[in-house]
Amino acid sequence: MTMDQLTPESADESPVPGAVVARQGSPVRGSRGRHAGPAAAGLPSAAELWAARPSWGRRSFAAIRANPLASAGAGIIVAMAAFCFIGPLLYHTDQLHVFLSRANLSPGAGHPLGTDGDGNDELGRLMIGGRISLEVGAASGLLAAIVGSLWGAAAGYAGGVADAVMMRVVDAGIAIPTVVLLLVMVSIVRPSTWVLVLFIAATSWLSTARLVRAEAITLRVREYVQAVRVMGGSGMRVVVRHIAPNALGTIAVNVSFQIANAILVLATLSYLNLGVQFPSVDWGQMIYLAVQAIDNGYWWQIVAPGTAIMLVVVAFTMLGDGLRDGIGQDV
């Protein structure tokens, strides 16, 4: 933690000059070292501190560990992933055949969470269904964050008319509710599961673009960016080597929120019977089937997948909130 608080300070003073200097060779670095060396013997220089700092991954891990909210979120996510991907190896159920003799059994011996209308074991179905929810959620959340970051960084760095046009496109996209936009797409083409990833990403990258653009605008006027421009660095170099890495914290937080959102959107679409199609199964579809017979009061068929969706979405939101707090202290 002390290390965490130390590095950004030194980073603020001369993070990028340090990195640039190291790449450009000895002359500058040497003269600076000779000058600083004897005066402050024994103390590490800023460049050495920068080189010795923990890796980005290790720092995020430390940030998660230090924040109870984030570690609780990460713990739930790991537990749910284990439940969905390792669970079926230990708890064998038949999710392919229909057994009307044991349909709609309430939770009890043999079926801890009861059975659904086809006689499938709810617990086993929850594990199988969670796979698609998590996979599609993670893939489309990540894709949305990447597309949104690139769009936002380009708009923020370009400025002027290009920025204005790019952001009005984002405004127009945000004006139409995500669900409505998705229903329009689905009314035109019924997607396979992996096309769904594209559809969900296509409707949710907009918020990331706004966020990263704001970040890029504050970063492009920083001294180290101007220093690179003065030294003749191209716009591409500034965006890729300086703006993108420094916005990484914001983007990492946003990936977490995007995944939470994508899981929610997929569940919503499947609940509307327009998402994952039979014989594939996900949590939203389980609720859709249960709602068709809601008058019978088979509460376990709704409460089980509903709790699973809520747990995962809240976990990713907590992780994002915690990471943001951790990074906020950093910066």
Partner: protein, 304 residues
């Protein structure tokens, strides 16, 4: 002030044009029969810009297309379904504001207290709980187990007809307002935390104002201004939420129509409705900005 409003209105017009362009591009992606139904026959051969302008011209004259599946014009479907959706969303938004504003200010004033933590946890849970799960659980308990309220929403036509049927309207409104409260309360809490840190709060305290007076006269009044923006910007989210609630409670509003159209590949309806919703949302955020400029003296005077 007028210069600001003119610039903001111009920006909104650009966004509206982009919304129509997005919708039009989706029309062009639609399969042949559906595309012809929206664009009109004999149009498929003409150039892109000509197609777009002729479509835009018809939309501007109120012709949103014709649903071959429902054998009705999209405009008449919209006219029949809109009052139901308005009854649902307006009621829910009013209730959500009435709960979220005091809750947010209470949380900010008692920051870090047990009440703050409990409310934060609750908003997080309702934020993560999909509205269709929440609504299903409410139906299971209040309609199936105890017969307090109807499991199906109001089937009456018209705004007043829907409002009058409170027995069936209670559960849909409860679902939508709980979801909206979760959005608003998060925002209100941070707005009130910001207000509390302002100089005028310290000045009021220095003059000897008590907690109650500071919260009501200074924090509440200043936090109400961003609420205008919040409601304006939340239009897409509230409409999206209404779609889910309408599908669950079988209320034949705007969202229900879009859902049924998507299930039946009725592209004319999904496109026409999404266009209207998109334009409504842009107008909503424009009005929010204008309202904000008119209400907040700091903004009002800085813009003159």
């Amino acid at each position: 002030m007028t210069a600001y409003l003119a610039r903001r209105a111009l920006q909104a017009i650009v966004v509206v044009v982009l919304v129509t362009l997005i919708v039009f591009l989706l029309v062009r992606l639609a399969p042949g029969g559906a595309r012809a139904a929206v664009l009109g026959s004999g149009q498929s051969g003409s150039p892109f810009l000509l197609q777009y302008l002729s479509w835009l011209g018809r939309v501007a004259h109120g012709d949103l297309g014709f649903s071959l599946i429902r054998n009705q014009s999209v405009g008449s479907l919209l006219a029949a379904s809109l009052p139901r959706t308005l009854a649902l969303t307006v009621t829910s938004t009013v209730i959500a504001l009435a709960v979220a504003i005091p809750a947010g200010i209470l949380q900010a004033a008692r920051r870090g207290s047990a009440a703050d933590h409990v409310l934060r946890g609750l908003t997080l849970v309702f934020y993560g709980l999909p509205s269709f799960v929440l609504g299903s659980v409410l139906i299971l308990f209040f309609a199936v187990d105890r017969h307090y309220f109807g499991a199906e929403g109001p089937q009456a036509a018209g705004f007043t007809g829907v409002i009058a049927d409170w027995h069936d309207l209670t559960l849909p409104v409860l679902t939508l307002s709980l979801m909206t409260i979760a959005i608003f309360a998060r925002y209100m809490r941070s707005a009130a935390v910001d207000s509390l840190a302002q100089d005028y709060v310290e000045a009021a305290r220095a003059r000897g104002a008590g907690d109650r007076r500071v919260l009501i006269r200074h924090v509440l009044r200043n936090s109400l201004i961003p609420v205008v923006t919040l409601v304006g910007l939340s239009v897409p989210q509230i409409v999206g939420g209404a779609l889910i609630v309408e599908s669950l409670f079988n209320i034949q509003g705007v969202g229900w129509e879009i859902w049924q159209a998507a299930l039946g590949h009725d592209v004319a309806v999904t496109l026409g409705f999404s266009l209207v919703i998109g334009v409504a949302a842009v107008v909503g955020s424009l009005m929010a900005d204008i309202g904000y400029a008119l209400l907040d003296p700091r903004v009002r005077h800085s813009l003159t």
